[in-house]
């Protein structure tokens, strides 16, 4: 049955999973791990601000329970880079002004980080003309794939530039 001693690995550190099963992964990260880089914009899967990477895949941490992730590896924005050692995408967002208020930004960057892997793995999207072919990181592909991250400041045009730059120069990834 339920493994009460379960831990959740966040950015490589084990954290004891919460007492209250109602706790979303998002609230767990923010309130119990002290990792407030992951944002709550809607709490209902409608904005993408809470995007984190679990087992290599991006998900909305608001629509999953922390207890369901015992044993999982979770990467948050804090795990991707730091001001002294930003990831290539963090640097590109900074250079291209791919944000304004910064509230959607951690979600955008986590999302983009995992997205580049999806493209590398040839996962199709709604914008892919050919379901069978190799997928390229065209601007339209990036736009569609990033549409799960709302930005009310309206930084999309810059976000696309930032991601395209990383997609075309390296393989994205984190700080190392």
């Amino acid at each position: 049955m339920l493994d009460k001693s379960g831990t959740i690995n966040v950015n490589g550190e084990p954290h004891r999973s919460p007492e209250d099963p109602r706790r979303s992964l998002l609230d767990f990260l923010r309130e119990e791990c002290g990792l407030t880089g992951t944002k709550k914009g809607c709490d209902h899967g409608q904005c993408g601000a809470c995007t984190v990477i679990v087992g290599g895949l991006r998900i909305n941490s608001c629509l999953t329970l922390a207890v369901m992730h015992e044993g999982d590896d979770v990467t948050t924005i804090e795990g991707l880079g730091t001001p002294d050692k930003p990831s290539p995408l963090q640097t590109a967002f900074h250079d291209h002004d791919g944000y304004q208020c910064g509230y959607c930004t951690p979600g955008q960057i986590c999302s983009a980080t995992a997205m580049l892997d999806e493209i590398a793995n040839n996962w199709p999207s709604d914008a892919s003309d050919d379901l069978g072919g190799a997928i390229e990181a065209t601007d339209e592909e990036i736009r569609e794939r990033m549409s799960g991250n709302l930005c009310r400041c309206g930084a999309y045009a810059n976000i696309v530039k930032a991601i395209a730059e990383v997609a075309h120069t390296s393989n994205g990834g984190s700080a190392e």
């Binding site: 609230d27 914009g41 002004d97 304004q100 549409s147 991250n149 045009a157």
Partner: protein, 717 residues
Amino acid sequence: MNAHLKQDEPVDDNFLDKTGQGEVGKPLSRVEGLDKVTGIVPYAAEYRLDNCAEGVLVQATITRGQVTRIDAEAALAMPGVITVIEDDRLCARAAQGTAGEAPQQAPRTICYWGQPIALVVAESFEQARDAAKTIRVEYREENGAPLDPTLVDAEEQGNETVNQGDFAKALSEAPHSVDLRITTEGHASAAMEPHAATADWDGDKLTVRAALQMLNFNISELADALGLDEKQVRILAPYVGGGFGSKLGVSQETVAASLAAMQLGRPVRVVMTRQQVFQTVMRRSETSQRLRLACDDEGKLTAFGHEALVSNLPGEGFAEPVLQSSHFLYAAPNRKLQLDVARVHRMTAGSVRAPGEAVGMPALEAAMDELAEKAGVDPVEFRLMNIPERDPEQDLPFSSHKLAECLEQGARAFGWARGERKPRQRLEGEWWIGTGVASAARVHNVGEAKARVTVRPDGTVCVQTDMTDIGTGTYTILAQIASEMLVVPVEDVLVELGDTEFPRGPGSGGSWGAASIGSAVFLACKELRSQIESKTGQPIKDASLGDALGGEELSCEGHYEPGDVKSDYTSSGFGAFFAEVRVNRFTGEVRVNRMLGAFGFGRVLNEKTARSQCIGGITWSIGVALTEALMFDPNDGHLVNCDLAEYHVPVNRDVPELEVIMVEERDPVASPIQAKGIGELGMCGGAAAIANAIYNACGARLYDYPMTPDRVIAVLD
């Protein structure tokens, strides 16, 4: 040390062009940027205070009436629940921008569905959220609250009314005229950070970390709501996750968190759910506008009529200022303008990005397009020939005016083909393709602003003000101004914002922030500069600041006040939008292929962040044109689509590549640094460029924004 300027005269010395560093205007990346992209900057709900309790607001489920009883028994019996707060000081509505006093309180008197009436406080958010659902409220309901703005007798806003010349005659005699009814739906700010406050009371002083735009006003609003002296209140908002008007005034969660903290003697945090933000803070009013325009055979406007109906709750002073730029944008001797407000029991209407022009300009500019077509004049030409020499109503000079340049440069860069235009010329697969143009205008405002600039013994500089940076770039431009004026590298300037213990800035709203607070910082630096120069006897650039001060600290408070110059000129930002869209001939879906904006808004303080403001505005234009609409229930007036799944802000894929042209200018009237507001201009008219392009693409005119597929297919054949 103080440096004060009340701007009674234009300031045309263009001082920042003479300082020679070239720091101001540079496309510098944001100084706080790396902290934002790595997720370490804290927003209002992200301070960890020991023993902090969590509050969740309880909302009314009737439209109008009185609360007779709140039954909290079940809630209080639940694990973790600490208390249920039913204080008369809780706010029923959010304060309007620059109110400076408490918003409507007495929460037991219900004026709209969803109004907050109580606060449940528990040890954890999950407990509070659950307990809030168990509160039973009894009401004495007053039925028949008016809900439909078109069915009530509206109140005329006298100060907006203009009757100039003989409008009726000019209209009837003109060879070309249009008489159109154009509507826009309500909008939500939908800033990505929900409204949140963390309050802490030490028995004498209240410290609140809140998501607010205008701390100088908010402190008065909050103190007034709580019955405290302003000295007992401190508000902190160093980072705000977007505002767009919704955080101008103090709102319900901040007052509730404060009351709870004061009552419990422990910190309390209240974060609104996304649905609550939608239902309780502010909506932009829907509008119904009548545009009657007439011109002569050449295309000169002879009659200009713009009337609008908006709505708000009883007792609210705010009426969406739809006609704001219509008063001066185009010359026409015969004018009729009128704004009416209908009192209805929907949630409070207030400022949402670019109040007024955001919806007035899309209507006006769509009507201009139709009239240009009737007169057989190219729409770019048509606008150019109707630019007034002076403000046509007040007979004042313009402080500066770049509409013509924006239209010309924009047309060139966009590849606008001047000449005869026919709709329905380009079909690619299922898509009709077309182009459109519209003017942009947004009145320029400034507000009183204070900032302290300190040169420290080590030669670094510190700028402090309670001004906020809501994504607008305040941190960066203030660092650039100080760097330029005091000849220090930007890295050596520390900017501290969003703390009411600092000198009072103007707050972020109405696009007035940068020009106002930038001027205060400029004034302080200018004074410091001359002190340092007189101390060392040499130009500042030849001295090292640290050495010049000889171990001392030098500090100056800059104080900028708008003055008489405001009433001697009409001051506005101007611009032009060009859009290419495609319209699916089967499904009526509209997508924007590309869009360009050319803007003149005075001195550009940072090319990169200014451009970002513009693309943000254009993105909002796309929302106004195509996707955003609040829907209200006809029976109880509640906001039906109260979340981000059903209120459609544009997504990444809705936004194509955007081009921005900044038409450089110096506006000596706008501010001592010759800068004007830029945050809103980018959405003042852009929706009309899209609407006009829709017509050009498919040959069907739509008169209701947003132009969603249901509306497009209704006019497509």
